[in-house]
């Protein structure tokens, strides 16, 4: 019983941050039809920036709550700066290229971002556990969890609610929905699709960086730690349906819980289980479980 509870809790924590990262990925795909491998780079940059400044702030003796400002600030700064740069320098040249080539270009960007981290931050891991220690831990049903991990639920839920509100209740959201639905039609009725692309890409990048920045205090931020996450958030997005936020939510829950189950019961099957589920979903429903229905065009 206690094990079941642990698995559930671990799974939900994991699902929360997978969702934050995957939401960014899926929004970018929905609007721009780009599978953005560089997302892993945003994640890693968010984590490194946050870890670096949290460490610096604690050395300067700033209060612990300041770390949360740093996390939010790093996510925004990294997402907007990298998002603008990459959209302008790389993607803008490639919008009329084949999808696969754009994927490969973003893969190239990912590799470059990874090595830039090595060059700028060095090879040693960064630790930024101060906010986690500050919040302490709490006993739930006989097991101890750090409060910090639990706040992830709140962040994930706000991202879910926020993006739902953005997409359905604001002017920008409605424009974006129109572009997701039919890009050419949106262009014809006078929507500035290029500008929407920039906004979407930056918003997605901020979410990717937020995932990294928020997870930074709970792990050792070391080179190459983004690779696992990017592969898993691809699985989330593919399972849920590319371009669908509710899909990303369901996919994240599924992958998060499955992974927690595998870690506790069959640790050797962790990656295997997730890719097996991904293959199965792709075989049965190639577009993913929750992909919006599309009209066939000839």
């Amino acid at each position: 019983m206690q094990l079941l509870f642990t698995i559930l809790l671990d799974g939900l924590v994991y699902a929360s941050y997978l969702f934050i990262v995957a939401a960014g990925l899926t929004i970018i795909f929905g609007v721009m039809k780009i599978l953005n491998v560089a997302h892993g780079g945003f994640y890693a940059w968010g984590a490194y920036t946050a870890a670096y400044f949290i460490g610096a702030a604690s050395e300067m003796g700033l209060p612990d709550w300041f770390a949360f400002l740093i996390i939010a600030g790093s996510a925004l700064a990294v997402g907007i700066v990298l998002g603008l740069l990459i959209e302008r320098i790389v993607l803008r040249r490639l919008y009329d290229h084949e999808e696969i080539l754009i994927v490969l270009a973003t893969f190239g960007v990912f590799l470059i971002l990874e090595d830039l981290i090595l060059l700028i931050f060095g090879v040693n891991p960064y630790f930024a556990y101060q906010p986690m220690v500050a919040l302490g831990s709490v006993e739930m049903g006989g097991i101890f969890r750090d409060v910090y991990s639990l706040t992830l639920f709140g962040v994930a839920l706000s991202v879910a609610a926020g993006s739902w509100w953005m997409l359905t209740r604001t002017r920008w959201g409605k424009l974006i929905t129109a572009v997701i639905h039919d890009r050419e039609m949106a262009l014809i009725v006078g929507i500035n699709v290029r500008r929407l692309f920039v906004v979407t890409f930056c918003a997605g990048a901020v979410l990717g960086a937020l995932g990294g920045a928020y997870i930074a205090p709970t792990v050792s931020v070391a080179p190459g730690f983004a690779v696992d996450v990017i592969v898993l958030s691809f699985a989330v997005v593919v399972i849920g349906g590319m371009g669908s936020i509710p899909g990303a939510l369901i996919g994240a829950l599924l992958v998060g819980l499955l992974r927690a189950l595998a870690v506790h019961k069959l640790p050797e099957l962790e990656l295997f289980v997730i890719f097996l589920v991904m293959s199965a979903v792709l075989i049965v429903r190639p577009e993913g479980l929750f992909a919006p229905a599309k009209a066939r065009k000839i």
Partner: protein, 319 residues
């Protein structure tokens, strides 16, 4: 038929280039020969990706077949005691063909990134199985003993090098013949418009399935050669997604212009890596990523399109 093969300029050039390489192998230092062997083996797998790429399909999981071929060599030695070159190559290709034929029924329904992602998922499933199964060597893998030729175990690597060159030549010629056949010429047509190809009376699904099996066979044979050249197989260096990623990178870098391009690209890649690790050990990914972007931006036809600026190479295209 034989005449058609021998009069094909690309075939002649490939034969000439590889024969020159074999002759050079007698004089080159061991590490260069090693790098060449790795390059040729990887080149055969890239040739498999080229066959798919001409249709606009890209597999992000060809490490699956590369790994199956490599493990076929290792396990046939481990279980059956095989060490003969020809038998090893055949085992590697056979295993890859069987797997490619089976998975082809699923993959032929997919295009674009879905094709790429599903291939990736399949290859990672194999990776997971290999890493977690003690009987299959787990993370350590197996060492592969010296390759023999009809019972003869030659000294040094020169004979293996020559044998690998021969296999690569045979594979390149076969692929060139395939690309020139009706089925092969459908390649570009499918890329341009599948529905029209269907109206012409051809089955697109079948054409892609055949193409996929050919591509799997090439990657399998490549994996087998790699296992023999390296003398070692393990999941990380044969199946992991980074292996597939390297193959995709070389495909783009080399360009789809000719069956010779994958081998040139793969050999360049091998030497690039050797030197990069010496000169700038922390910048390898930067180099790969930067090259990838530059090629996509400025040289969509890859290295081969540079060669095609020379009239001699340009004439090959209309052959």
């Amino acid at each position: 038929m034989l005449h058609a093969i021998l009069s094909d300029k690309t075939v002649r050039l490939t034969a000439l280039a590889l024969l020159a390489l074999a002759a050079a192998g007698l004089m080159l230092p061991a590490w260069v020969v090693n790098n060449m062997m790795f390059g040729l083996a990887r080149g055969a797998a890239v040739l498999g990706l080229l066959v798919l790429w001409r249709t606009g399909l890209m597999s992000f999981g060809h490490g699956l077949y590369f790994g199956l071929g490599a493990y076929a060599v290792a396990l046939s030695e481990h279980w059956l005691g095989l060490s003969d070159f020809a038998l090893r190559i055949l085992a590697a290709i056979l295993v890859a063909v069987v797997a490619g034929f089976a998975l082809g029924f699923i993959l032929r329904r997919y295009r674009d990134i879905f094709f790429a992602m599903l291939s990736l998922a399949f290859s990672m499933v194999l990776y997971g199985i290999l890493v977690k199964t003690e009987a299959l060597g787990s993370t350590d893998g197996f060492s592969v003993s010296q390759t023999t030729f009809l019972g003869w175990a030659p000294e040094g690597k020169q004979v293996l090098f020559t044998a690998i060159i021969t296999v690569c030549l045979a594979l390149a010629v076969l692929v060139q013949m395939y690309l020139r056949s009706t089925l092969g010429r459908l390649t570009t047509a499918i890329r341009d418009n599948e529905i029209r190809v269907e109206y012409l009376g051809y089955s697109v699904a079948r054409a892609i399935h055949i193409k996929y099996v050919i591509s799997a066979a090439l990657a399998g044979g490549a994996g087998g050669m790699m296992a023999m050249a390296l003398g070692q197989v393990d999941p990380d260096s044969m199946v992991y997604w980074t292996v597939s990623g390297e193959l995709v990178f070389i495909t783009i870098m080399a360009g789809p212009g000719s069956v010779l391009a994958p081998f040139i690209g793969a050999i360049i890649f091998e030497f690039l890596r050797t030197y990069a690790f010496e000169i700038a050990p922390h910048a390898w990914q930067l180099i790969v990523g930067g090259t990838l972007l530059l090629i996509i931006f400025f040289l969509p036809g890859g290295i081969w399109s540079l060669l095609e600026r020379i009239p001699f190479f340009r004439r090959l295209r209309h052959d």
